[in-house]
Amino acid sequence: MSDAAIAHEAPEEHPTSTGLNHRKILMWAFLGSECIFFGSLITTYLVYRGKSVVGPYPSEILNIPLTSVSTFVLLMSSLAMVLALAGFERAAGAAGDVERQQQELKKGRFWLLMTAVLGTGFLGFQAYEFIEFVHHGLGLTTNLFGTTFFVLTGFHGTHVGVGVLWLVSLLVLSYFGKVKPLDVELGGLYWHFVDIVWIIIFTLIYLIPH
């Protein structure tokens, strides 16, 4: 398949009882369940907030400037993600115009790569933060803050890591003409979900004073 190739929506795609794509319904149902998953971790953090009996305490080690930058990086990755989807959709819509299709596909791939790069950058910030905390004596079993913080942000980071792998897979597969706009959209929904979870974590853990 050529470099410009893009998989188009299968015209014979079967009709559904809802008129909606089943894969997209599945993704939204999955994201609904993920709300409960992350919500449980956030609730656990809040329930045990301020109940650590030994340090280090959050006010002593949380690095707000650093986390603000990593938050901005993740927000910008969401912008890159929607621009990637727009590129793939425009490429699919320009099926009759090979030159324009190539241009749009190239843009889509570029923004997909940027999303993955920014996501990896966010993970780098998180790894640095974790290492700093360990150097300050905060581990998973040090106190209630350590346990709830590492479990919550660790699971979030794992989701970001899975998202990066997903994006890279889409990028590679797009060169073989195996990526439809819907595939990018589903990856994008997951990515934006990871972003909104961080919006909540950033406020509740970092910004609300301890």
Binding site: N21, K24, I25, L31, F38, L79, V82
Partner: protein, 101 residues
């Protein structure tokens, strides 16, 4: 989106709109971080931070995840899980609040 009967390409946000939303998200994040450095009464700070985070959440869900334009069924799936979680959070906060006196 392109595969949904209820969703048309015309309804899609334009690139310019995506960038405008990113700018708004950035401004909201700057305001959030600013609250850390400005002395704001605690009683005012919590609602302010929650409103700012809620606005960011709503913008990403509505425009970047396209729920504003998509089928209400998708919103139903998402907010069903979200509502259960909010109820769980309130219940546990109350329960643990009572237990700890």
């Amino acid at each position: 989106m392109s595969t949904d009967a209820t969703h048309s390409d015309e309804a899609h946000s334009t690139t310019g709109q995506y960038v405008r939303i990113a700018i708004i998200l950035t401004i909201l994040t700057i305001l959030e971080v600013a609250t850390y450095y400005v002395d704001i009464p605690y009683a005012l700070l919590i609602p302010l931070l929650l409103v700012l985070a809620g606005m960011k959440f709503a913008l990403v869900v509505a425009y970047y995840m396209h729920l504003r334009y998509d089928s209400k069924l998708f919103s139903g799936f998402f907010f069903f899980g979200f509502t259960i979680e909010i109820l769980l959070l309130i219940a546990l906060m109350v329960l643990f609040g009572i237990r700890s006196g």
